[in-house]
């Protein structure tokens, strides 16, 4: 891979990252891993993944661009390279996704010096798992409709309420928490906290069961939970703006810290392999013209996403700077969903077999991945909300609310 616009140090770092990943590929996991870090369920999975993130962090592949004072490695333009190599190497994902791609960038932007020094190192090393307390039963797409309240009491805030869809909540030491501190103003009545979770008085974490039959998400109840004012991020009433920083980071519009995991091209290779082993009306699915067309459609979308990422960095080919970055969550989640659905179609009758069945193709991956794909098309702002954002912020159409 030749890249004219990389510095010698960056090129050297890429070689180092490739070499390190080759030499330090982790052993197979002790138990099956979920498709994404937001659905890590068991202690075994957690320990394995936490160990992997720590190794990547210690090797300089995580936290590469964060200042050394906050536990990072103090480089510039290294993290994107590390992310590309982590993706390419198809190693396990980094478990502390909320800490890495949401909490750390938000704290870096809005936090006090003390908060940065205290909280960011654990996000990067993965030693302190984070979860996100944004969604509520009545605040999904209408995120500002927050009911969880925080009331000032001396040097503390008293929090009461109910958060849902809390990935990693059962393992989390901390939560990025949006609360209502004033009922007078929907948007300016919100305040953002870094809230202790594990073992903290008044916090109850209960697993939510998804359509797959698995847990992985939680709901979190707050009953008179005491949070020190020192854990407030930015000003009282600024919670909405802080939450937008978090969501921007999450949606991939900012430089995230990398999620690892499989790339688009491996998904296509898996579909082709499945088609070589599935039958359709007496012929192999791989020889069925309609199936072939469907697979190639997926391959084109996958390559298109890859090339979008490339074009987003060529200013002369981007009329609007946010046009491609803001598409990423929408397009990536629908790409995964459509791939999984096609896998189910190709597997045909065998797609009825779920993960316990020994005859299930790819150990039941396809129906499981399809069911699970709705997590990503709904989370982080549903794809309908994403279409509103793109229509309004990029195309300039009138706001729908």
């Amino acid at each position: 891979m030749t890249e004219a616009n990389l510095t010698p140090e960056q090129l050297e770092f890429r070689e180092y990252a490739q070499r390190w990943l080759e030499e330090n590929a982790p052993p197979p996991p002790p138990e099956r891993l979920p498709i994404t870090p937001i659905e890590v369920m068991t202690v075994g999975q957690r320990d394995y993944l936490q160990d992997w993130q720590y190794k990547c962090f210690a090797a300089g592949l995580v936290g590469a661009d964060y200042p050394k004072a906050y536990g990072g490695h103090g480089h510039t333009g290294f993290q994107r390279i590390a992310n590309q190599e982590l993706n390419r190497a198809q190693v396990p994902f980094l478990i502390n996704i909320v800490g890495l791609s949401m909490a750390a960038p938000t704290i870096l932007h809005h936090g006090t010096e003390e908060q940065k020094r205290k909280f960011i190192p654990g996000c990067l090393s993965g030693e302190e798992i984070w979860c996100q307390g944004f969604s509520e039963p009545g605040a999904g797409s209408d995120l500002a409709n927050q009911r969880t309240s925080a009331v000032r009491e001396a040097e503390d805030w008293i929090v009461n309420g109910h958060k849902v869809w809390t990935s990693l909540g059962h393992f989390a030491k901390w939560m990025i928490l949006v609360t209502r501190t004033s009922k007078d103003d929907k948007y300016n009545g919100l305040t953002y906290f870094l809230c202790p979770i594990a073992g903290h008085a008044g916090v109850t974490v209960r697993p939510l069961v998804k359509i797959t039959g698995e847990t992985g998400f939680n709901e979190v109840f707050f009953e008179d939970v005491r949070v020190p004012d020192a854990n407030r991020l930015d000003d009282v009433g600024k919670g909405w703006a802080v939450a937008m920083t978090t969501l921007l980071a999450e949606r991939g519009a900012s430089e995230g810290a990398g999620s690892g995991g499989g790339s688009g091209s491996s998904a296509i290779a898996d579909l082709i392999e499945l088609a070589r082993n599935s039958w359709r009306d007496g012929v192999l699915a791989v020889d069925d013209p309609v199936t072939r067309d469907a697979i190639i459609q997926r391959a084109i979308v996958g390559e298109g996403l890859r090339q979008n990422g490339r074009r987003a960095r060529v200013a002369a080919l981007c009329d609007h700077p946010m046009r491609l970055p803001l598409q990423q969550k929408l397009t990536a989640s629908e790409f995964q969903q459509d791939n999984a659905r096609l896998g189910v179609e190709i597997a045909g009758a065998s797609a009825s077999l779920y993960k316990l069945d020994p005859r299930a193709p790819d150990a039941g991956h396809w129906p499981l991945a399809y069911l699970n794909s709705y997590g990503n098309t709904i989370a982080a702002g549903t794809n309908e909300i994403q279409r509103n954002i793109l229509g309004e912020r990029v195309l300039g159409l009138p706001k729908s609310k």
Binding site: M1, T2, E3, A4, N5, R88, S263, S265, S266, I268, A269, I272, A275, R276, G282, V283, L284, V286, D287, P289, R292, D293, I295, I296, Q297, A299, I300, V301, E303, G304, L305, Q307, N308, R310, R311, R313, V314, A316, L317, R323, L324, Q327, L330, T331, E384, R387, N388, L390, G391, E392, V394, L395, G396, L397, P398, K399, S400
Partner: protein, 396 residues
């Protein structure tokens, strides 16, 4: 699939390429507005649709374009052209598409890319003519409308002094604007590529009556057209066409991307202004969301377009895959925004006078040109999955 990108990360689209594109954008914005386009090609449907006239085009503007050197962009510097990369040419052709410019630009660029692939002395002489302002078009499609390079419309026989061409080339783009045709003929096992002057003896043009108002198209009858040895471009025509094919697909994709972006922006502007139920219709998600979906499709096509151009410029083995992906994505994106543009404009979009149909038809024509999305994906399946029946397991 996961071949490393050997082409530059910026697709080779640097300052020079941006300058060329911006110059084209400025020139066409000033000289070829929507009202000019409408007045030129769609003042009334009768001349073209009822009386069979060819659509008008702006010949003085074309002369300026030739003087600016746009037609010599794909010609190497040794032959008097500017030898611009395909990435640069793609950016420029997008602008022509954005303005639905009626001109022999794409056919002439296509012909020069075939001549460049032929890499012969005859080809170099012809390239010098193109750099000097000659227009050209490809006569390589048979009566089945086959878009693949191995199929030739003509037969060539040797009469001792040279070749004699017989047959009918179909779907020749902007044939009436071309000074020169590059014809493909079957000669034994291979194809031969020949240069034919527009006034050659035995050559006649039958205009196709087409819906697109921004070009002409013809069936060109070759009735014993004599080809002297000095007009034989290549006797390995199939491989020449095959190696030029990705670039030809890329040119049409660029035109589709430009025209589709224009349709998107025009529809967005209309949705901001048109008020129904006391609101601009762009407020409603039934209007907003399809426009976002169209944007996503156009962006995919554009990214694949510049990827294809960069792969071709780099001489990469992945050029054909990239170009066919680009043409598939561009054809489908164009079909979608063309459809939504008319529909979301409502009644006004359905009128002749408003003019959206000019872009709709140009896209509809280009979608099929050189093969639509389904066609490209069939070829891609052979390249990426392997031919049907190649899995090594007995079917049945």
């Amino acid at each position: 699939m996961n071949t490393p990108i050997t082409a530059p990360r910026d697709f080779g689209f640097g300052e020079d390429e941006a300058m060329l594109r911006d110059m084209a954008r400025k020139m066409l914005s000033e000289r070829f507005s929507m009202s000019r386009l409408r007045e030129l090609v769609a003042a009334s449907p009768e001349p073209v649709y009822d009386h069979g006239h060819r659509p008008s085009w702006d010949e003085p503007l074309w002369k300026e374009i030739v003087e600016l050197g746009w037609t010599g962009l794909a010609v190497g510097e040794a032959e008097g052209g500017s030898g611009v990369s395909l990435a640069g040419i793609a950016g420029m052709v997008e602008e022509a598409g954005r303005h639905a410019l009626p001109s022999p630009l794409v056919p002439t660029l296509s012909a020069s890319l075939v001549l460049r692939a032929a890499d012969s002395e005859v080809a170099r002489q012809l390239l010098a003519r193109v750099a000097g302002g000659a227009t050209a078009s490809l006569a390589i499609t048979n009566e089945r409308g086959s878009w693949e390079p191995g199929d030739a419309p003509l037969n060539a026989t040797d009469d001792g002094e040279g070749l004699v061409l017989q047959g009918t080339a179909r779907f020749v783009q902007d044939a009436f604007k071309a000074d020169l045709l590059i014809a493909s003929a079957r000669a034994g096992e291979d194809l031969v590529l020949c240069a034919v002057e527009r006034d050659a003896a035995g050559l006649s043009f039958e205009a196709d009556h087409i819906h697109d108002l921004t070009r002409d198209q013809a069936s060109v009858v070759f009735d014993g057209v004599k080809i002297v040895p000095g007009a034989i471009i290549s006797r390995e025509g199939a491989s020449v066409l095959r190696s030029a094919w990705p670039a030809l697909l890329t040119l049409v994709s660029a035109d589709l991307c430009g025209a589709s972006e224009w349709l998107l922006q025009a529809t967005v502007e209309y949705a901001k202004e048109r008020v129904q139920f006391d609101r601009p219709i762009g407020f409603f998600q039934a209007v907003k969301h399809p426009l976002v979906d169209a944007m996503v499709e156009i962006d995919r096509a554009r990214s694949l377009l510049f990827h294809a151009a960069a792969e071709i410029d780099a001489g990469s083995a992945g050029a054909e895959v990239a170009a066919r992906m680009a043409k598939s994505a561009a054809s489908d994106a164009a079909a979608f925004i063309s459809d939504r543009a008319i529909q979301l404009h409502g009644g006004i979009g359905f009128t002749w006078e408003y003019g959206l149909h000019i872009y709709f038809k140009r896209n509809l024509h280009n979608q099929a040109l050189l093969g639509d999305g389904v066609h490209q994906r069939k070829k891609l399946a052979d390249l990426l999955i392997g031919p049907v029946g190649s899995s090594g397991i007995l079917n049945g």
